[in-house]
Amino acid sequence: MVFVLMIIGFSFLLLNGCQKGQEETNLQVLHVAAPASPITLNPLFARDAGSLEAAALLHPQLLGTNPDTLEVEPRLFASFELQADNLTYLFRLQEGLLWSDGTPLTADDVAFTLLLISHGDYTGWLYPLLRFVDGAEEYRNKRLSPYAQGEISGIRVIDEHTIAIRLKQLHAPFLSYLTFPPLPAHKLQNVKVAEMEGHPSLRNVLVGAGPYLLAAWKPDEYLHVRANPDYHLGKPKIAEIYYRFIPNIEAQVIELLAGKLDLLPTAVKVEDVEMLAADRQISIHKNERLVYDYIAINQKEEGSPLKDKRVRQALAMLLDKDELVTNLLLGNAEVLHGPLLPLHFAFDREFSQEKGSLPAARQLLLQAGHPQFQLKLIFNSGNIIRENVALLFKEQAAQVGIDVQIHALEWEAFLAALTNGDYDLAILGRSADADPDLSFHWHSQGAGNRTGYANEKVDRLLEEGVAVLDKERRSELYRQIQELIVADAPIIWLYTRQAIHAASADLQGFAAHPESLFYNVHLWSLAGREDGL
């Protein structure tokens, strides 16, 4: 018994630390909910959305993108210009940039970060973006030193504030890739790249240059950050942020209603919106995102009716997408007919598939010689919206003679079924790039081309699309590509959902970016909270 009491007492001590001070009352403190704890605060190695969101509080971006147009904007790089050779970009850093330990942030830090990403031992997600840099591939393959040292022929530090990056060939989306942060060379140059993923100085972000600095990271509890007085865009107005990890969505809503949270980001349930909006203390914010839901069609199975384009076209006619958006998503989404999203500059509002009817679909099936067959449709269990899409699809398909078997699978099993091709149809989501370049999913060699889609003409046009800079021309090309892809009916596009945020009405200046929750977080403020709550 005494032992047990000691354990309890000890736990308290551990948790409580030594101080028991009162909370400071005259500071603006923001409480934000997150569904999951970040795994790392190291943005170059983060592999999950939660870690990337959290890291955005602590790290500045080299370049940003405009939330409405997705055009590249200055961040740490104050200016960027393409030289006459159409291959070399000259980047100039802002003057007077500082790491939080007082060391100047210079072009050497940027060069170090680029070396690190291109290094053969780097196992993060950014390398595919840098392989367009001249010499990056050679540097990666040689792996001369275990440290991020040496030289990449295409990267040259000109002076403290200037760096030049030369590409192998013109690559229009390249600037939009440089939205990652630099890491402090003076802290990390003596760390082996293979050991950097779990390195303590990155885990605890002892040195940063982002809008906020880390005060405490309590795993599975919260991230506590304090405004960085030296942030290059200006000291944030909100003094402290608690980013609380609350896996239970109901608890998030209750805490918001009770005034203990100020912001539920991104994933407010569509059915909760009305109730929350009715509360005068709460305001609802929405923004478009670069994600969409679709039904993947497995064409790899020998003898499957899905190999026939007419069958796939018939399947694409079955669902009334307007109805999905109105009734399932309560209007918080936009119908999608092709791979370009409304946020892309190449998006074509006029483009739509002709609304098919059930008799037309039936006709196509008969033409294809598949009057009746069975299909296996999978989705990840727990996703109510997708479950309803599956049920509607099954109902419609039955009317044209297709028997759809629905399987709700646990996430890992769902992924395994996708990887092994153990499905005919699968409902899932996917994210798109800020640039309309569709190569990742639709080029026959694209790394994200899981369905094995291959169309020579599309490949050629995609290659042309990244090799010109003129926006008009690129727009034209991507619209053409979209038409070609849609004509092949490789997948069924459904809708692109909006991010829905519920915030305390006090929160001012909050305007989420399609790719980042904490966009311009330094401009946020809490009206009327100066006196403390």
């Binding site: 948790l15 592999r47 031992d121 293979a194 609350i246 239970n248 009770a258 790394a447």
Partner: protein, 316 residues
Amino acid sequence: MIRLLLNRLWQTAIVLFGVSVITFIIMHSAPGHPLQANPELRLDPTAVERWLELRELDEPLPAQYIGWLSRMFRGDFGKSLIYNRPVPELALERLPATLLLTVPAFLLALGLAISCGTWAALRQGGFVDRLLGLATLAGLSLPSFWLGIILMMLFSYGYPWLPASGMRTAENSSVSDILAHLVLPVTMLVAGSFSYYVRYVRYTVLAVLSQDFIRIARARGFTELYIVFRHVLPNASLPIVTVAALSLPQLFTGALVAEYVFSWPGIGRWIVTSTLARDYPVIMAVNLSAAALVAFSNFLADLLFLLIDPRLRFKA
């Protein structure tokens, strides 16, 4: 006595070895590896290869197992594949929060169960007994997550007295702040385990009460209180100790449902996310420690038996 001990140790070693082999096989035959969890992640295939290579996950399974075993014997539990930190460090980080939740809940449930169960048995068929019967039935049949949500709706939203999530407001929270955060999850845990213990207590106390020596004690005119504390409880304690000892491992492995419902930063959530993410070293270490704890609690129960019951000591 020493032979008994050695025997136990030997058996435990075999069990632990078996557990490690089976865990290893099951884990590696489950689909996926940690880098496959996010299909949208744009990792370069060479990066994935290098990642597996750096963590020796590209070797054949038997070699991986032997590597793991030899490191184990040197006291190295390995590094989490996801967090890239030593597994014991991650576990210790979460242990205080876990114990803070499970130990008070366990003590409260057991204490309440012993007092209520004894009372109910002494007044069998009385009002308290019948009320308790109803309450335990409810406690056992209501899903605990549902109870948790109802508690939250009532006391965090309807009457916003208590926080609905987390363990504290900030790093420098006061003890009362942490206690306020504890109330709802502990209540939820107690409701479940109390109903489970109290039936045992009532049943065993009833069994003791029906024995001859109690009747004799009553005939000799001892007070009821004296009989209960001197004769009934010591005799009823054996089965209760067994049940309690077998609950010990759960104190350390956490209370997953309560941790999820109330966003408590305990070990249970970590175990589940690690399993879903195929964090092999964590799963191995956790399963092995859990098995060791079960073996240890059994052993502890045996020792307590010897302590409580002189007859067993004599036989041993």
